[in-house]
């Protein structure tokens, strides 16, 4: 079982970091919130709409960007944004696309096929697509993983502003603890499908006797493995 009995909420304007080692269940959690994977028990609500019962209405309020879900490489930047703006039933899609092309510095690439973009440019395109429908819940799975430090800093600032100005709730996974500490209001630490810890990333390390968030991450990531090894002996 990839995820076992987890429960959390993302409030309006809040950025929640979903942390955990590889295989902890972060992507599984995101897939469940996106309606790509049905939980065996429990329910998911987006803006008060039950995902299982009203999938389309619930997903109209959300969007995502993930490194493992590249947009179709045989469509151009503009065609991809047009395609997804129609799928998300975005009204005045053309002007929204122009706005996002400008916001993410993609205007000069509008006629370039997405498969020809650099990984950083693809990330910017994925983020532009993720904002097409002005989501109330945004899921970002390692959104800055392939960006240089300068570009990553700009993206973090933009997403931070998005949460503050539009009240969009954001669920963010990252393995960059500096980024998490700087960006997230709250973190959930997942291990083997369960939430082990939850709290403010700035105070959580001290509260648990660790010097930094990274040190806490390493300790928590290894503890279950050590427990498992001890149990097997």
């Amino acid at each position: 079982m990839a995820v076992d009995g987890i429960s959390f909420a993302v409030r309006r304007g809040e950025i929640v970091g979903l942390l955990g080692p590889n295989g902890a269940g972060k992507t599984t959690t995101i897939n469940m919130v996106l309606g790509l994977l049905q939980p065996s028990a429990g329910n998911i609500e987006i803006e008060g709409v039950d995902l299982a019962r009203h999938r389309s209405q619930a997903l109209a309020h959300t969007n995502f960007a993930a490194v493992y879900a590249a947009l179709p490489g045989n469509l151009t930047v503009y065609q991809n944004l047009r395609f997804f703006s129609l799928l998300y039933n975005v009204a005045a899609g053309a002007s929204r696309i122009e706005q996002l092309l400008g916001d993410f510095d993609l205007r000069r690439l509008r006629a370039t096929r997405s498969g020809m973009l650099s990984s950083g440019e693809q990330t910017r395109l994925a983020l532009a697509k993720a904002l097409l429908n002005r989501p109330r819940l945004l899921l970002l799975d390692e959104p800055t993983a392939s960006l240089d430090p300068s570009a990553a800093d700009l993206i973090r600032a933009r997403i931070r502003a998005l949460a503050t100005e539009s009240g969009c709730g954001i669920l963010w996974t990252s393995h960059n603890m500096y980024e998490v500490e700087e960006t997230c209001d709250r973190v959930l630490f997942l291990s083997r499908g369960r939430i082990l810890l939850e709290g403010d990333p700035k105070t959580l390390p001290q509260a648990h006797g660790a010097a930094t968030l990274e040190a806490l991450f390493i300790r928590l990531a290894r503890e279950p493995l050590e427990q498992q090894a001890g149990g097997e002996r």
Binding site: N31, L36, F83, Y88
Partner: protein
């Protein structure tokens, strides 16, 4: 159902066709080869036999009908395969898109692409070989409609199969028309077949199309009951295929297959 998501599926295919002439060429090239090949065979048979049968009308007409059905089916499956090939399921099914909207988009794409193929076939068959296609008159409409409906149903069914079995099962889709053709009597009456094959043939809508076509060309008129049966069977096929696709999609969401689709799992 909303209109914009349906348009999105069609528009994506039009974008791809516009940017890649090979996609348009493939819609025309195979039917052109078929028409030319069977056109010359029909012309040759007309010259060496004195049976009174116009082979241009009966053989070439049958090829044209069969290719039309194949184009419709492939129009649906190719639009679906674009999402398989570009590993787009996560992006696609994380949107508010309804399955009914997705299938409607695939069907509309099938209409557009099959019409391109049909026009190319008609131009070649009438221009090069003098196929009296329109001699069937208004009967053409129900004949094409039955084939169109069956092509849609089979295209959706094939897409459901690939969704369930994984991308590697794509090769199972291509031979489907060839597997069906002996049973539906494209080139010969169903009475030629042994009883068990005839029974299978009567369960397949195209059989009624080809029987009607031959009957009209032989001056015997057509069976309205037969065409109605063909239409009803084709409509039933569409409903069954749509139900199956929805069931497979729900299974894929329940089991996690959809999220890890590109791993080509068949578990």
């Amino acid at each position: 159902m909303k209109l914009r998501p349906i348009i999105a599926i069609v528009l994506r295919q039009l974008y791809l066709m516009r940017s890649s002439p090979t996609r348009v060429l493939s819609m025309i090239a195979w039917v052109a080869i078929d028409i030319v090949l069977w056109g010359f065979i029909s012309r040759y048979l007309n010259s060496v036999t004195s049976s009174g049968i116009n082979f241009i009308a009966s053989l070439l007409g049958a090829v044209l009908f069969w290719d039309f059905f194949t184009r419709v089916m492939q129009g649906v499956t190719m639009a679906f395969f674009e999402d398989v090939w570009s590993r787009n399921f996560i992006n696609l099914f994380a949107t508010p898109l309804l399955i009914s909207e997705y299938l409607s988009g695939l069907v509309l794409t099938g209409i557009v692409t099959s019409l391109v193929g049909l026009i190319a076939m008609l131009l070649l068959a009438t221009g090069l070989f003098g196929l009296p296609f329109f001699s069937l008159g208004l009967l053409l409409l129900p004949l094409l409609l039955v084939l169109f409906m069956f092509g849609i149903g089979l295209g959706v069914l094939a897409s459901a199969m690939v969704l369930r079995l994984g991308p590697a099962s794509e090769w199972l889709v291509w031979p489907i028309p060839a597997l069906l053709s002996p049973f539906v009597g494209v080139f010969y009456p169903l009475s030629t077949l042994p009883a068990w094959m005839r029974a299978v043939g009567y369960a397949l809508p195209p059989s009624y199309v080809f029987e009607s076509m031959r009957s009209v060309l032989a001056g015997r008129g057509y069976s309205a009951g037969g065409l109605l049966t063909g239409s009803a069977l084709a409509a039933l096929d569409i409903l069954l295929a749509a139900w199956l696709f929805t069931a497979v999609y729900r299974y894929a969401v329940r089991s996690g297959l959809l999220a890890r689709y590109s791993a080509e799992s068949v578990s």
